[in-house]
């Protein structure tokens, strides 16, 4: 490994370690709340209401919503981690430590996105463990499940990064999760199959990228999906490439971090 690459590797390792250490240090804010919230979803939607709904897609309602709830937790936490960490670094000005140092912009982006992805996956694992108290899980397509959850976490970590670049206050890092991400998640087939919707709303739902993630992930776990899995992978990869290019453009331009 060349000297330059060795330096880059150490810098990336440092940044990712710092990000992971951050969300572990504040685990009551980062890891505990999703475990509690998702437990409530399982109890209320899965057990209490789900028992009256009956089967969906050939599975019990509890089995049907587990993949969606795991994916919802992954998406929200990957996004929130990068948005809050990067914005805090801006707010406390310690982002300057990175800007002054010989760390290329793509490594800064990679470090934050890896940190967000790590939190998303960590929370996903916690929620999966919680779900085992309510139902048994049998994964049908392991690699589809794993690759979809990682790609989704990466995609939303990138979204959180861009949000944090533009944010000028803590309020501005909660606007998109509250008004865009949460509605899209709830309407993204977490709790229902879009086949239950009228034709028009099925077509509208297809514009929601979260629908593809939830369904592809559900396909990996249960083997059922409302959409073709290849379409889901294609859309997510295009989104990741687009968001990465845009985030790098903003970083190179210095938007939100340099005067």
């Amino acid at each position: 490994m060349s000297n330059k690459h060795a330096h880059h590797w150490v810098a990336l390792h440092t940044l990712v370690t710092r990000e992971i250490r951050r969300f572990i240090r504040i685990w009551p804010q980062t890891l505990l709340p999703p475990a509690i919230t998702m437990t409530l979803y399982f109890i209320i939607f899965g057990n209490l209401i789900g028992s009256r709904i009956g089967n969906m897609g050939g599975f019990s309602y509890m089995e049907y919503i587990v993949p969606g709830i795991i994916m919802m937790a992954v998406i929200n936490n990957a996004y929130a981690n990068v948005a809050s960490s990067f914005y805090s670094a801006k707010f406390q000005s310690h982002i300057e430590e990175l800007i002054v140092a010989p760390v290329p912009n793509y490594l800064i982006l990679a470090g934050y996105v890896a940190g967000g992805t790590a939190r998303g996956l960590c929370v996903g694992l916690i929620v999966t463990i919680v779900s085992l108290f309510f139902t048994s899980l049998a994964i049908q397509h392991l690699w589809i499940t794993i690759s979809m959850v990682i790609l989704s976490a990466v995609m939303f970590a990138l979204g959180g990064f861009i949000n944090a670049i533009y944010a000028n206050s803590f309020d501005e890092i909660s606007i998109i999760p509250t008004f865009i991400l949460t509605p899209l998640t709830y309407l993204g087939g977490v709790f229902y199959s879009i086949s239950l919707l009228p034709e028009f709303w099925q077509q509208v739902s297809l514009l929601n990228p979260i629908l593809y993630m939830v369904n592809a992930f559900r396909f990996g776990m249960l083997g059922v999906s409302d959409i073709p899995v290849t379409a889901a992978f294609s859309i997510i990869l295009v989104c990741i490439i687009g968001l990465t290019a845009f985030a790098l453009y903003l970083l190179n331009k210095g938007t939100g971090i340099r005067h």
């Binding site: 406390q92 300057e96 430590e97 010989p102 290329p104 340099r258 005067h259």
Partner: protein, 311 residues
């Protein structure tokens, strides 16, 4: 023939902010390797903008910056690797522990933990922060935070250290100990650029100086030549006995501060012999004498006033 290595070369540097403020109007600056260099100027003169551009925190409008002959635009990583920055404001993560901050910063410069941990320990001891190494940075006192920022800037052994008002708000004792520390690292070969509001600090520490005002360099020379330009100096004389009522000094501008203290102002070419001769004739003995306050301050004000007058 020896070639002088330039630690910093700035050519025609301009910066106009989005609100239209022209912070730098085409400055040129050069700092030699091993120098202890002062960049002085009143508030809003362009000092922090200049440092911000050198350290990539601010995007320049036009111009050219080289650090150890490495173009900052073409080879930003190589150029940045030479730099260490002690900014004006505290800019570390207050929730992180002191040693973590140093090791993390070293990591950004590619130093693995096997090297950065002993280096961090060394700096923490040198700067009196060893006992606080496991304390979150936000719990440190103001002086300790300032020292932490110096340690952080030095952890990767930079060749060019930039200090933006490092002793602002620091008590005299700590300021003096920081001066000693900075002199030591400069003697070991680190080039230092210092901005400060304490002109006494620049006069004591720095060999070369640039004065910036309203985005222009109004002076760029060595400290000695600059101080030599003073055409008058003021001395305070502490006398052994109270002054007699009929006391006078012919041909000397003076002021009696109290019964036994005299302030005298002399032109640069006038010696002190005439003053001492007159005092001696009147039976007055001098216990001690000191140069009044800060000579650089007088020059600084003169240069800045001249810069204002040319606008």
């Amino acid at each position: 023939m020896t070639t002088t290595v330039q630690a910093l070369t700035i050519q025609h540097l301009t910066k106009t902010y989005s609100n239209g403020l022209e912070a730098l109007k085409g400055i040129d600056l050069h700092v030699e390797q091993g120098d202890f260099f002062a960049l002085l100027g009143p508030n809003g003169a362009g000092k922090s903008t200049t440092i911000g551009i050198i350290t990539s925190l601010i995007t320049k409008t036009s111009g050219h910056v080289e650090i150890f002959d490495t173009d900052l635009d073409k080879y930003p990583e190589q150029a940045k690797a030479y730099l260490g920055l002690v900014p004006q404001e505290f800019n570390f993560n207050g929730f992180e522990k002191v040693k973590h901050i140093l090791v993390t910063q070293a990591g950004y410069y590619g130093m693995p933990a096997s090297k950065s941990e002993p280096r961090a320990d060394e700096l923490l001891r040198q700067l009196g922060l060893w006992d606080k190494r496991h304390t979150p940075a936000r719990a440190l006192s103001g002086g300790m935070k300032r020292r932490l920022m110096i340690a952080r800037a030095l952890v990767h052994k930079p060749q060019l250290l930039i200090l933006d008002e490092p002793t602002a708000g620091v008590d005299i004792e700590l300021r003096r100990s920081m001066w000693t520390f900075l002199r030591e690292i400069n003697a070991q070969g680190t080039t230092i650029i210092l901005t400060t509001h304490y002109l006494e600090e620049a006069e004591n520490l720095c060999r070369n100086i640039a004065i910036i005002d309203r985005g222009n360099i109004v002076e760029h020379t060595d400290m000695k030549s600059l101080l030599n330009r003073l055409d008058k100096e003021t001395f305070i004389l502490d006398l052994k006995t109270p002054l007699p009522t009929n006391f006078s000094l012919d041909g000397v501008h003076y002021q009696q501060l109290d019964d036994s203290t005299l302030e005298i102002e002399l032109k640069r070419d006038d010696g002190l012999n005439n003053v001492f001769a007159q005092l001696s004739q009147q039976g007055i003995e001098v216990r001690s004498m000191k140069n009044k306050a800060n000579r650089l301050e007088e020059l600084f004000l003169t240069l800045v006033e001249r810069s204002e007058a040319t606008l």
